[in-house]
């Protein structure tokens, strides 16, 4: 139970300190620390990342969602293909999905050229991959549960009854 609470809080904000989490959950700080360590050791907690609104930054950052179709042969599994693709640092997420295509892959790069080149030179040539469809991300409105955009929309009165 406390595991779930700790996970939910970290999902909400991975920068909550163990002291803050302890205050919010009524656990001892040492218990929070131990729980986090256990979750990390068990491979449940895999990392802590920032949610970035790249559009709000001057630097260009290009992202694409790529649909991949594959044909399996007797020696190759989805897992084998996934393992190969996941190694590329350009690939930020990779999922096997049901429906019209097999893998749903997210790719990031500094320019459209870089991303296109990566897909045509590294991904498309993988023998089992029969088709790639690339969708460039134009604007992102929500990432990891967090709405992006202007943000500061608290229009409440500063003192109210």
């Amino acid at each position: 139970m406390s595991e779930r609470e700790v996970l939910e809080l970290l999902r909400e904000n991975a920068r909550y300190s163990t002291a803050d989490i302890a205050r919010m959950t009524d656990l001892e700080e040492s218990e929070v620390e131990a729980t986090i360590e256990e979750l990390e050791a068990a491979g449940v907690l895999r990392g802590y990342q920032a949610v970035v609104d790249w559009d709000a930054l001057e630097d260009e950052r290009v992202r694409a969602e790529v649909e991949l179709n594959v044909t399996l042969d007797r020696e190759t599994s989805y897992g084998d293909i996934a393992e190969r693709l996941a190694r590329f640092p350009q690939v930020t997420s990779l999922r096997l999905v049901s429906g019209d295509y097999d893998f749903d892959m997210e790719v990031e790069g500094d320019s459209i050229r870089e991303v296109s080149q990566f897909i045509s030179e590294k991904v498309a040539p993988v023998p089992e991959i029969t088709q790639t469809v690339t969708h460039y991300v134009m604007t992102s409105y929500k990432e990891n549960g967090i709405e992006l955009g202007d943000g500061d929309d608290d229009d409440r009165l500063s003192v109210s009854p």
Binding site: M24, V159, S160
Partner: protein, 385 residues
């Protein structure tokens, strides 16, 4: 002056929070913990229902008492959540906020000269409401030593035995105090014994973090003498939609409706559609918001403890009520804190004399801001206390 306000209007001083509001509004770096409303948006499903109703052109008056469907939904909800059984046809009235319900009840039941006991510290509208109705407010101070819960001793001490009515608000604004069933039972006995009408403002009922909310109307012999107020502002984050309701026996609702039908005609129609959807499908949203408030509550209570401004354990609403350090009045402390650190809180005396020496601190604000505000208060204490 040609437009000379009536005496009962002049008898009510300007609201004490007004001044703080004005100071706080002058600056743009203020973190406000002075807010008495949720920082969440109305659940999307409820907003969508409001929009849809507008698209359908549903902009006429509804029945004076509110849409039948909504009254039925309210009856189902209060029965389910609080064990309150009221007939949607005769015992429920939908109002423009709980505020209107409170006002209607005072105007319908308070005769000129009637004494209305008010458990204090309390939400700021009760006293003026009683005065506008021609009645006389009788403050019943509660004490921190009792965790700001109302006791029979407090009622007796204040002379409430001779009053005509009693106003309760638990979970309480501003203290965050709650009244579990075992604390309410003697109050119910007292009300019956002294034949008091009870006005019970339960708008924060959903925001009860430990145990279950109990309504005084559920005690034996209390339903007949109690008007329960509730609304959508707090639990459903719908303050601006202005929707509330009152529950009471048929004759009482008829009397309140007599005032309402001339003064208001009917509560906002768009808001009634939003409320219907809120009751229908927004349980999860409420649960999520209540969970967040609870975490913030624990955070804030524990931080105040750490920085040396302890407060009793508030278990409801979204306020804590710490004591100001010795040597300060709440007003001075709040004012200096606002000027020096840009943190707005409300001095407790605004909510009645028994709030003297306390601050109302709202945690209807994101944790990031709460964390920063508490650090600033800590810095203020280190420098000035």
């Amino acid at each position: 002056m040609t437009l000379e306000p009536a005496q009962r209007v002049q008898a009510v001083p300007p609201s004490g929070i007004r001044r703080f509001f004005e100071i706080a509004e002058e600056r743009d770096d203020v973190i406000s913990l002075g807010v008495g409303e949720p920082d969440f948006s109305t659940p999307w499903a409820a907003r969508d229902a409001a929009i849809h109703s507008l698209e359908q052109g549903r902009t006429s008056y509804t029945a004076n008492r509110g849409m039948r469907e909504l009254r039925e939904a309210i009856a189902g909800y209060v029965a389910d959540r609080f064990d309150l059984a009221y007939d949607p046809d005769e015992e429920i009235i939908v109002t423009a906020g709980a505020s209107e319900a409170v006002d209607l009840a005072f105007r319908a039941f308070v005769d000129p000269g009637d004494t209305v006991a008010i458990a204090q510290p309390s939400y700021i509208s009760y006293e003026p409401g009683v005065i506008f109705a021609g009645g006389e407010p009788l403050p019943v101070p509660t004490r921190e030593a009792d965790d700001f819960r109302l006791t029979v001793e407090a009622l007796e001490r204040a002379g409430a035995a001779d009053a005509d009515a009693l106003v309760l608000c638990y979970p309480n604004n501003p203290t965050g105090a709650v009244m579990p069933a075992e604390d309410l039972a003697p109050i119910a006995d007292f009300a019956r014994e002294h034949d008091l009408t009870v006005f019970s403002d339960e708008i924060y009922a959903e925001l009860t973090y430990e145990g279950e909310h109990t309504s005084i109307a559920t005690f034996e012999g209390m339903r007949e003498r109690t008007v329960v107020f509730n609304g959508f502002s707090k639990a459903y984050a719908m303050t601006g939609l202005r929707l509330g309701y009152a529950l009471a026996p048929a004759d009482a609702i008829t009397a309140m409706n007599r005032v309402h039908q001339y003064g208001m005609l009917s509560a906002p129609t768009t808001a009634q559609y939003a409320a219907l959807e809120a009751l229908d499908s927004c349980d999860d949203d409420v649960e999520e918001m209540v969970g967040q408030y609870d975490r913030r509550r624990q955070f804030v209570l524990s931080r105040f403890e750490e920085i040396g401004m302890p407060c009793f354990e508030a278990k409801g609403a979204f306020y804590v009520f710490p004591e100001v350090p010795a040597g300060w009045t709440a007003e001075e402390f709040a004012e200096e804190l606002l000027y020096e650190q840009g943190v707005a809180v409300v001095p407790g005396d605004v909510f009645g004399e028994s709030g003297t020496g306390h601050l109302r601190v709202s945690y209807a604000t994101g944790l990031g801001d709460l964390r920063e505000a508490l650090s600033r208060i800590e810095a203020f204490l280190e420098e000035r206390v």
